[in-house]
């Protein structure tokens, strides 16, 4: 699946979780002007892991704790709406949490 063929909902979240791949994540990130580093991947993998385990897309607080990445650092890695950006790039639904 590439960025041209993959299906997203009206807000830009992947419609089908199985369409996600690391390559796709890199393409999606580029779209948001984010160049993925190891730190980005730690955060993205944490978000995906929580979503897989709990079935619910996490907010930043949970992602921060799981990835051991401070909130401040997450905002540096994903400026301009980190909760939304992380979910979109990680291929998980819009976060259900307010924190």
């Amino acid at each position: 699946m590439s960025i041209e063929t993959v299906q997203t909902d009206a807000e830009g979240y992947l419609t089908n979780r199985d369409d996600w791949s690391e390559e796709l994540a890199m393409e999606l990130a580029k779209q948001f002007s984010v160049e993925l580093s190891d730190e980005h991947w730690t955060v993205l993998n944490a978000a995906r892991a929580i979503e897989t385990e709990s079935g619910s897309s996490p907010g930043l607080r949970k992602i921060s704790k799981r990835s051991e990445t401070p909130i401040k650092a997450i905002y540096k890695l994903f400026p301009d709406g980190p909760a939304k950006l992380i979910a979109k790039i990680a291929g998980i639904p819009k976060p259900k949490s307010c924190l």
């Binding site: 909130i71 709406g81 924190l99």
Partner: protein
């Protein structure tokens, strides 16, 4: 997605005017949600809302039961000594279970998230406080007019 150059960035101004434990959270949560979604956020703490960022009071905010029709106990009991403290402790425990941070940590989190916090000059004067009495995350002390100027084009929420 980042906004295009032609579209003005969304921004939110929250005015926190109440200092009870239960009324401190809505403003903090809304500002945090805004930052998580890429919306600029600033908070103005005025009158009793100043307690939320007052160094001496931030960890001791109390639930408001008396005169609150949603209180889980009858009004007559709500006013008895210790009842509010008990209810506050219970609510704190429940919030901890849901992983909602205590107010002090929440204020730090907002600062880390890039929200701007301001104290109200008039309220400080009224309570005979200075900026030093406020937690360090408070960026500045402003007049209401300053805050209005800052909020041009923003959505304003009064709590």
């Amino acid at each position: 997605m980042t906004d295009s150059g032609t579209q003005k960035k969304r921004s939110l101004s929250v005015i926190c005017s109440k200092g009870s434990f239960d009324m401190a959270y809505p403003g903090l949560i809304l500002a945090n949600a805004a930052r998580m979604a890429g919306v600029d956020a600033r908070l103005f703490f005025t009158f009793w809302g100043l307690d939320i960022v007052n160094k001496k009071k931030i960890d001791r905010l109390h639930l408001n039961l008396v005169g609150n029709p949603s209180a889980p106990v009858p009004a007559m009991i709500a006013g008895l000594p210790g009842v509010e403290a008990l209810a506050t402790a219970q609510m704190r425990k429940e919030m901890e279970r849901l992983d909602i941070p205590p107010i002090r940590e929440f204020v730090e989190m907002l600062d880390d998230a890039g929200a701007d916090l301001y104290g109200c000059q008039m309220a400080l004067d009224m309570f005979k406080l200075t900026k030093d009495d406020l937690v360090p995350q408070v960026k500045d002390v402003l007049t209401a007019m300053d805050f209005m100027d800052m909020s041009e084009g923003a959505q304003i929420i009064f709590i």
